[in-house]
Amino acid sequence: MVAATLGGAWSGIAAQRITGELGRAFELERAGRYARAADRYEAALAQNPANLSALLGLERVLVPLHELRRLVPLIDSALSVQADNRSLRALDLRVWVALGEPDSLRQAAREWVAAMPDGPEPWSEWARATLALGDRAEAQRILSRGVERVGDAVLARDMAELSVQGADWVAAARQWHEAVRGNSSLQSSAVASLTRAPAGVQSRVVDVLMADPTEPTGGRLAAELLLAWDRPLEAWVILDRVLPSDRSLASATLRRFADRARRGSGPEGSRARGFALERLAELAGDRAAERARIDAARAFVDAGDRQSAERMLDRIAFEAREGGRSAGTAVATLVGVMAESGRVEEAEARFRDWVGRLSPRDASGLRRQIAWAWIRRGDLDRAEGLVANDSSLTTAAVRGWVALYRGNLGTATELLRAAGPRIGTRRQATERTVMLALIQRIGQDPAPRLGAGLLLLARGDSVEALDTLEAAAGELTVRDGRADLLGYTGRIAVETRHFERADRVLRSVLSIDPDGVAAPAAEYYLARTWVAQGQSDRARDQLEHLILTFPESALLPLARRLFDQVRGGIPQ
């Protein structure tokens, strides 16, 4: 009993001593004092020859000291104590690789195989070590021998990685498939590895995985790969066929697919996401189903598939009504979709039906959205009528724009100014500021033709809008802001890619008032016109003139950036 207690105390002291040595060794290693760190690691090993932390530390510091050979007898001692320690065995192989001694590596690996005849690790590490020596063919042979001894499944991953390194993508697909069938947690690794397959072999990889269309593992791998290769609809078609029968597994698969589809680009990705979420909703309980349908509706809206979006939202609204619940978000989304797609009457009717159950914030937002839909239809009265009783600042902006489209510049100025810079998105605030700056320069009020031109622009008829705005400018004298309105017209022409008109209109600004307030912007947009038409030299001259003539202009940062792009100083 006494001996046992003393023995316990002694081993505790020894352990503390080792910990102390290791701590000092780590500190020395961190400070780059490798030689002294090596001494400390060796001191720790003198206490416990199989201390793995010390051995690994010694490996790290002996490499820069070019003294890795010192580690060989220490590993032998450690293995004599713990012959079946996998980390020690792997370290043994690594050291022979680093020393460039393939014969010793082979011997060490064979000893490991003898010690663990049924384990895959010796074959796996042996192959990796051989590959590190640059001999891929030998690594392949080693793995093949391992497969004969311990079976395909456990070494399939190593085989697959080796095939990937050799750019043998078809073999890699087959081997990864095998590996994932044996261990489903390898799916992410398989996808990460096979994703790198070049475009030319991607379809062959999918064919290999789908050789048996009823086998689910290959299908799921193929679906994930197609998604990674930005072929989301093909991915969805495959996944739909191979969803797990277990409800929770299927839900997890669908959620993962939907999340990954969101990262893809373009409407196809959104549509595939929508389909996955729609299917998810069918598997989920009430609340989760509603959330999934809302998300699906948004995805379909993003994809431009309004019909599918409405199908989702109608279902939510119906179920909410049946269950007597509020479905604010769903209704708001549904009404928004209707308004966006031009079904304004229906949107307004649905809004009036639900407005009592919407939050004030949702109600106000929808009111604005529907009002804008009326504006886009050209019905200013209905737009105004909808927001007439809403005195909030957010609707002041809408009323301001309506006044502007009627040509009432004074009222428009007052309301747009009242809306201030913080209402709506940043882009909306910037548009208000630009418009306020323009109409303050216009010396005519009312200006119905200007309002008509801007309304046409809001309705998306840029050709008619440009004609009308140019005509409106023609009604103004230079003192009443003719150059300013022409400058704005030119800018719109550039942004809607009517470059010929932009060139003509912007030049007329510079001939009317070459030193006026509108001149710097006219020069900048003229330069953009030329850049868009591939006339870099002209653009460069124009920008030089702008930068040197108007050094205080607020447009200077934009002009300099464009100048740098034109001369190739920064990437496009």
């Binding site: 780059g32 490499v63 690789v97 590959l131 020596l133 640059g134 750019a167 070049p198 050094p551 100048f563």
Partner: protein, 445 residues
């Protein structure tokens, strides 16, 4: 430190003209001889443009371009070392003022009296003035087809508006380096192993194209393999420096150039690049007396590890040995005694955030004696920025790939320098471009 050597014979009939490096070196001789105010050609009643390089400068990077183009137009400038972040003083002229305005570079118009005050300040402190007289002819070693956006130096040159030529293996082998005074190397692998990405990126289009292009070049130039071609290119580059050229290298070009120079007659390339495995005893056979900066280097033997040797302290692609990034501190040199290293570290900040590259840093214990350390990380076993002489020329190595993309990964979007106009890391690159423009100061007797 920059060594003081026997001055070259005076120029004239039968005399060997001084090399450009001699000229720069003599700056130190002159300064050491007399701490008197420097001799400046002052035109009576001249007005000047002071290009401040401290925190008041609105575009540090383009300021170098403005100065460079002044020299290109045949004008002169002075580099005011350690004065307001290493400012430039340029005789006022319409072209320079216009250029600065276009570039968005702040300049201050100063008169002769102000300049006299500045010179007094410089004479009294650890500062000096270096006349800049001629824009160096700049070459960048890169395939002609490569876009500039994966090379920090080309990005800096393009952004600052400094003209350069791209040259590659055929031009270098045909002694095309003789046409230039300054040469830049970036992430070329002079061991001919395609940056050791062969295994990890096999099958990718960019690697396939790189391999094909290099193999074609080797064949057409009569070399048995890409590694042999690259070794020959490395020797030409060493000869260029030996004859008085200025070499600036970054990232993996630094490390692999040295290995290629040390490996004459030794197979240091993996089987995939030359058909034969690497000599297992290669590290022992390397000849470090043939290189610029390093010695006693141990090579990385695994062809699957994208690392070349223990020169690099950070080993970004070698997970067990990878070290985290810190920050590098620029050394403060005596401007009047050591003008060359002083020029190379001119900056508005002393501490530069570190950045990874295939070669990020240089292990202290692999540096040759006599190498000048320009920047290091306090307490770390590596340094970031080094410089030295070789023959009649000089070399400067900066570790890392892109000062404003610290984690740089293949496929990252290009860096937009318009968003980094005050980058202290990029300033180090541009210091190197202007450094060969320095003029020999006349010796006072």
């Amino acid at each position: 430190m920059t060594g003081l050597r026997e001055p070259s014979p005076p120029s004239g009939v039968g005399a060997v003209p001084p090399t450009r490096r001699d000229a720069v070196r003599m700056l130190g001789v002159a300064a050491a001889a007399a701490l008197a105010p420097p001799i400046i050609r002052v035109t009576p009643r001249a007005e000047w443009l002071l290009v401040p390089m401290d925190r008041r400068q609105t575009n540090h990077l383009k300021a170098y371009g403005v100065t460079f183009r002044t020299l290109e137009r045949g004008g002169t400038a002075e580099w005011l070392l350690n004065y307001r972040g290493g400012s430039f003083l340029i005789p006022d002229g319409n072209a320079t003022a216009r250029d600065a305005a276009l570039a968005g570079v702040s300049v201050e118009r100063v008169g002769d009296a102000d300049v006299a005050g500045i010179r007094g300040t410089i004479a009294a402190g650890n500062m000096d003035t270096i006349p800049l007289e001629k824009a160096p002819r700049v070459a960048v070693y890169v395939p002609r087809t490569a876009a500039p956006w994966d090379d920090a130096v080309r990005m800096a040159l393009e952004y600052a508006g400094i003209s350069y030529d791209s040259i590659w293996d055929p031009e270098v082998i045909a002694d095309g380096l003789d046409d230039y005074e300054w040469l830049h190397l970036h992430h070329e692998d002079f061991t001919g192993q395609y940056s050791k990405f062969y295994l990890s990126y096999s099958g990718t289009a960019w690697l396939t194209s790189m391999i094909r292009m290099n193999q074609q070049a080797a064949r057409s130039l009569g070399f048995s393999s890409v590694p042999e071609l690259k070794k020959a290119v490395a020797r030409r580059i060493r000869d260029f420096v030996d004859r008085g050229g200025f070499l600036f290298a970054m990232c993996t070009a630094t490390e692999t150039l040295e290995i290629a120079l040390a490996a004459e007659g030794v197979d240091v390339a993996a089987q995939y690049s030359d058909g034969t495995p690497m000599d297992p005893d290669a590290s022992r056979k390397l000849r470090w007396d043939r290189t610029f900066a390093f010695e006693n280097v141990r090579l990385e033997m695994s062809p699957a590890t994208a690392s070349f040797s223990d020169i690099d302290g950070h080993q970004v692609n070698n997970p067990p040995r990878r070290r985290p990034l810190g920050a590098a501190t620029l050394f403060g040199f005596s401007a009047k005694i050591d003008p060359v290293p002083t020029m190379l570290v001119q900056n508005h900040r002393r501490v530069v955030r570190d950045f990874y590259g295939l070669t990020t840093s240089f292990s202290r214990n692999r540096l040759k004696p006599g190498v000048t350390i320009l920047a290091d990380e306090d307490g770390a076993p590596w340094v970031k920025y080094i410089h030295g002489d070789f023959g009649e020329g000089t070399w400067t190595f900066l570790g890392g790939h892109d000062p404003e993309d610290p984690q740089h990964r293949i496929g990252d979007p290009p860096t937009d320098l318009a968003l980094h106009v005050h980058s202290p890391g990029y300033r180090l690159i541009l210091n190197n471009v202007l450094f060969p423009a320095a003029k020999k100061r006349e010796l006072k007797t």
